[in-house]
């Protein structure tokens, strides 16, 4: 196991109350595996990723659980040790590329600085590596001389990926890397993520596009209101979803090749300061019964984990 997350809980202590953004989540990613995390916005996907990177700032706090990466207990590392892992062993592409690139610095400088921070190379060598990285993500190497504003959204996102992989990480976390992009650019970025997987690295893709996750991943984890509600093999999970939320998500999206009955999911995800009692999906669930007033257990059903009383 490359990454093991056990009973992880991350909270934000806001003035209105405590937001349990990630609540008792257990999951793992193997070496060379492509895992997607799906769910509506506000369900805790980004918070989960930031927790693995240990990038939760006050008022947020990882309040419980364990994260083991490549045999190392991440939560016990010093800030300095964690900084070394970040970037060199775990790379991350953030949800908003414009805010994470420095507008005043050339793309090449930004990539080579990341490289020099972690590796003992000269400026010239780092610059050469930056060119190679850009080429790898399908950009012209001459782009090292561009400033972020001279690039399109898709090109910027590819620069972010080049930066995240420049130190050859074992795990790449990509938080909605293509949400704002068109399908052609999206496909190129996804092909690249799959190449990474073929090289034996692991990918954790966060997306709200279920079809995209189905197409690209080995396994899918579905998050709802801070909980992991279902996780399993991508193909089985998409063809035969078990959790009512997974079913609802799949039914709510149109498909280009299919005439299907699109059913909007009723209602919204709950306020995590004050989630519904018992099962958090209960107010939106058409299968809810008396039992659902209590928190459902996580059970294993043919190799899948489901958190729902229907299977408990």
């Amino acid at each position: 196991m490359l990454l093991e997350i056990e009973k992880l809980t991350t909270v934000f202590r806001t003035r209105r109350g405590v937001v349990r953004a990630v609540d008792n989540v257990t999951m793992s990613i193997n070496k060379g595996e492509f895992v997607s995390i799906v769910g509506e916005s506000g369900c805790g996907k980004s918070t989960l990723a930031h927790s693995v990177m240990r990038l939760i700032d006050p008022p947020g706090e990882i309040s419980g659980g364990k994260i083991t990466f490549d045999g190392v207990d991440l939560l016990s590392l010093s800030d300095e040790e964690m900084r070394k892992i970040r970037g060199s062993k775990i790379g991350m592409v953030f949800q908003n590329p414009m805010t994470s690139l420095d507008p005043l610095e050339k793309v090449g400088d930004q990539i080579s600085e990341t490289i020099m921070e972690h590796m003992d190379v000269t400026k010239k060598e780092a610059w050469q590596m930056a060119r190679e990285m850009l080429e790898k993500v399908g950009l012209q190497p001459e782009r090292v001389d561009s400033y972020p504003h001279q690039l399109s959204g898709g090109q910027r996102q590819r620069v972010m990926i080049a930066m995240a992989i420049s130190l050859n990480p074992k795990l790449l976390i990509a938080d909605e890397p293509t949400t704002a992009l068109d399908v052609i650019v999206q496909e190129k970025i996804m092909d690249f993520l799959e190449d990474m997987k073929r090289e034996g690295r692991a990918v954790m893709l966060i997306t709200h596009d279920f079809a995209l996750a189905a197409e690209r991943s080995d396994r899918i984890a579905v998050m709802y209101a801070g909980w992991l509600v279902e996780m399993g093999d991508a193909e089985t999970l998409t063809n035969d979803p078990l959790h009512p939320y997974t079913k609802g998500l799949i039914q709510s999206v149109p498909d280009v090749w299919m005439d299907k009955d699109i059913k909007p999911l009723p209602g919204f995800p709950p306020d995590l300061i004050n989630p519904p009692e018992g099962c958090r999906f209960r107010p939106r669930c058409s299968n809810a019964s008396e039992m659902c007033m209590k928190e459902p257990p996580e059970v294993e059903v043919d190799g899948r984990v489901v958190k729902c009383w229907l299977y408990g």
Partner: protein
Amino acid sequence: MLRVENLKKYFPVQKSALEVLLSRRRDFIRAVDGVSFEMKRGEVLSLVGESGCGKTTTGRIIVGLERPTGGKIYFKDKEITSLREEEQRKMRRYIQMVFQDPYASLNPRMKIGEHLVESLTIHGIAENEEAKEMAMSMLDRVGLPGEQFFTRMPYQLSGGQRQRVAIARAMILKPEFVVADEPVSMIDVSLRAAILDLLLSFRDEYNLSMLFITHDLSVARIVGDRIAVMYLGKIMEMGKTKEVIHEPKHPYTAALLSSVPSFVKKERKVEIIGDIANPIDIPSGCRYHPRCPFAREKCKKEEPELEGEEHSFACHFPLEGGF
């Protein structure tokens, strides 16, 4: 209902004074470069294509937010681009637009209900109490109970709710033609179906025509009677939705289709080479040729015309067989 003929929009490229002195040539971004189509009453046409291909610009010209460089627009047989300012304003009540970004399209300092009242007042449809009543019932209609939502501020609403306000503001004028520019691309996937349902329910109620801009062909499949595929300012292929999706003739349409994420395994895949060309420097012949895996000599020299009746396409060597 609406006919667009050879519509063009060229934006001058910003240059420094020195650059202007050195080269006497003026460069233009050819955002829309000869677009023609026709729409019937009650029809929905999806306009699809990559980012930057000119979809929004086409929509903005039709609703009068942008002046075309060339071409004509006929709305109910009346040429509207050359109308005088005042007549145009009257016309505009019937042609509305719903924008992509539900955050940017509302005034952050104005109550939700006031957006609708303002719309009615500007177009001289109703004022004061009457306008307020109409606004309340329109809010009810789009699923935001007026009692609760009239006095709320935009920041208190989620993305999906704001998009409902934007739709309400356009629909309260009972338009006959609506341009919807990626109305669901910035909201949560699970909320999209409900917003699309809402838009289509107005189509049925008012029998309005809609130009639906999207880069998501799976959305185009459920909303549009027809699809027009645009590339670098021109329409490459146009026809009935299912025909274009299952029997694309243009290699660009096929490439777009190949890259849409789907629950169904793809049997056929058509490649696309490199990135979109620069709209300042549009390639010779078929403008798609540098990216087309089927390009031959002829494609570099002769520009193919958009030909065909029901299903038209602009390609010298159209694809055979379906998807």
